[in-house]
Symmetry: none
Subunit: 190 residues, 4 copies
C-alpha cells in the first residue's frame, strides 16, 4: 500500500481502476482484473487479502493523491478568491490528468464495501472546503449562507462539468475551465 517491491502491485491497481470505472465493483470479476493486469488470478491474493481489500486500497490511494494535490498548492495566505481559484484549478488538473481515478472516486457508490478509514477519508476534502468557505465568509467575501450548502453546490457544479466532459458532452479547455470557475465564484461571492 506504500512502496512495494513488485510493480505487479501497481499493474493490478491500474487494471482494477479501469475495470471498476467501466463496469462497477460488483460487475468486475477478479480474474478479469488479473487478465487485464497481465498476472495470474492467484497473484492478486498475494498483494490483497480480498477483492474488498483491493477496492479499499485503490480508493485510499487516489483519495490521498487528490487531497494531497489540493493541499499542496493551497494558498493559505491568499485571498479567498485566489483560494477558490486554486482549489478549482488543482482539482481540474487532477481530474483531467486522471479521469478514471476521478470518476472512480466521485461517480461511484462505494458505501457497501468501503472500510471505516476510507469513509473517514472520503469527507475530508469537503470538510476542508467548507472551512475555507466559512473563513471567507467571516471576511465578507462570500455570501452569508450555510458553508456546507455553498460548498456542495460548487463541488456539484464541478462534478457535473467533469462528468459531461468524461461522457463526451462537453469539451474542456483552459478558457472553458476559467469561465466555469468564474461562474461558480459568482454563485457564492458576496
Amino acid at each position: 500500500m506504500n512502496a512495494r517491491s513488485s510493480t505487479r502491485y501497481e499493474w493490478i491497481l491500474d487494471a482494477a481502476l479501469a475495470l471498476f470505472v467501466e463496469r462497477g465493483y460488483h460487475g468486475t470479476a477478479v480474474p478479469a482484473i488479473a487478465e487485464r493486469a497481465g498476472v495470474a488470478a492467484g497473484t492478486i491474493y498475494h498483494h490483497f487479502a480480498s477483492k474488498e481489500a483491493l477496492v479499499n486500497a485503490l480508493f485510499q490511494l487516489w483519495k490521498h493523491r487528490i487531497v494531497h494535490a489540493v493541499h499542496e498548492h493551497f494558498p493559505a495566505t491568499g485571498t479567498p478568491r485566489e483560494q477558490f481559484r486554486t482549489i478549482w484549478n488543482e482539482m481540474a488538473r487532477f481530474a483531467l490528468a486522471h479521469p478514471a481515478a476521478y470518476s472512480f472516486l466521485e461517480f461511484h457508490h462505494h458505501g457497501a464495501y468501503l472500510d471505516d478509514a476510507n469513509k473517514e477519508l472520503d469527507g475530508g476534502l469537503k470538510r476542508f472546503a467548507a472551512e475555507v468557505v466559512a473563513h471567507a465568509q467571516t471576511q465578507g467575501f462570500i455570501r452569508p449562507a450555510e458553508p456546507q450548502l455553498l460548498m456542495e453546490l460548487v463541488f456539484g457544479a464541478f462534478n457535473g462539468m467533469m462528468r459531461a466532459h468524461y461522457e463526451g458532452r462537453l469539451v474542456l479547455d483552459e478558457a472553458r475551465l476559467a469561465l466555469a470557475e468564474a461562474s461558480c465564484w459568482d454563485s457564492v461571492r458576496a
Copy 2:
C-alpha cells in the same frame, strides 16, 4: 403480458429500485429483489424478460415521470428567471418526493446495460434545459457562454446539493432550496 395491471409488477419495480440504489445493479441479486417484493423469483420473469429488461423498464418509468413533471409545469411564456426557478423547483419537488428514484436516475452508471431507447431518453431533459438557456441568452438574460456548459454546471450543483441531502450532510428546506436556486441563478445570469 405485463400491463401495469398486476400489482406484482409494481412491487417488483419498487423492490428493484430500492435495492439497485442500495447496492447497485450488479450487486443486487434477482432473488433478493423477489424476496423484497414478496414474490417468487420466477414471478419476476413473467413480468420482465431478464434482469436487464427490468432495470431498463425501471429507468424508463422514472425518467418519463421526471421529464413529465418538469415539462408539465414549464412556463413557456414566462421570463427566463421564472423558467429557471420553475425547473429548479419541480426537480427539487420530484427529488425530495422520490429520493430513491432520483438517486437511481442520476447517481448510478447505467451505461453498460441501458438499451438505446433509454440512452436516448437520458439526455432529453438536459437538451431541453440547454435550449432554454440558449433562448434566454438571445434575450440577454443569461451570460454569453456555451449553453451546454452553463447547463451542466447548474444541473451539477443541483445534484451535488441533492446528494448531500440524501447522504445526510445537508438539510433541505424551502429556505435553503430558494437560497441555492438564487446562487445558481447568479452563476449564469448576465
Copy 3:
C-alpha cells in the same frame, strides 16, 4: 386415450409429438407444447396427469396404430415372401404417412420414462416378426439362422433407410422401396 370429447386432447398430442421429435422429451417444455397446441399450459394438466403421462399416452397411441396397421393387412395364409413384402410395405406406408410418429417411436430413447405397459408394447411388433421368420424357416423359405438376428437386421435396414429419407439423404419412391425390399429379402431368404 380413446375417444375424447375435446379435440384439444389431440391438439396437445400433435404438438407434443412434433416437439418431442424436434428437441427430445427433456428438451421440450410443457409450456412450449401448450403454445404449439394453441391451449393454455394448465389445460394440458386437465388431460394428462403429468408430462410423463403425456409422453406415455403418445407412445402408446402411435405404437398401437402401427401394430394395428401391420396386423390388419398381414396375409396369414400367404407365402412367406408375400408376408415379408406386406409387412415391409405396411410399415413403409405408415412411416411415410406419419414421419414424426415413426421417428418418435423408433429413433428416440424412451427408456427413462416409459411405463411398464409401454415397455411391453414396444417389443410386440418385433416378436411377431420373429415368429413369422421362424415359421418361414420351418418351411425352408428363410435361411437357418436365429430368427431374432435376421429380424433385427431387416428392421435395422428398414430403419436406416427411413432415417436417411427423413434426414434428406435419400428420396424414397415406389421403385426404391421395392428395390430395398428385394434387397432385404435377399439377405434372409434361403
Copy 4:
C-alpha cells in the same frame, strides 16, 4: 487451457458419455456429470466453454476414433468382398469395445446442438462407404442400385443388430457376426 494433458478432462468426457447415453443430452444435468466424474461442477467449465461445447467435443472425439479405426484397416487394394467384410468387422470390433460411444454416436439425435464441424464429420463414414459401393458396382460385384440406398440399408442392418445386442435382445459372438455380415452382403451383391 484444455490439452488432453489433464486426466480430469478425460474423466469429464467419460462421465458425460455414460450419462448422455443413459438419459440423453437434455436429460443430463451438468452437476450430475461433475459428480460422476468426481470433480466440482465449476471444473467442467475450465475444460469446456459450455455443456454444448462438451457434447461437441465428445462427439468429435469418438467420431474421429471410429473413422480412424475403419480407415486404418481398409484394404484399398482388396476385393469388394474383402472391403465389405473389413468395414463390417472393424465397426463391430469398435462397437463392441465401446458400446457407450457407439450408442452415443449412432442412436441419439444430436441435430439441435452439434456444431458445423461435427455435422460435416458426421456424414464422413457414410460418404466413404457409398463411394466404396459405387466403385464395387463399376466392377460388377454389387448390384446396380443407388449406392446411397444400399449403403443406408447395410448400415441400418448393422445398427439394428448392435442396438438389439446393447439392449439384451441378441447375443453377438463371432459366428453370429459372420452370419450377419454374410446376410448383408447377400442384400447388396450382384
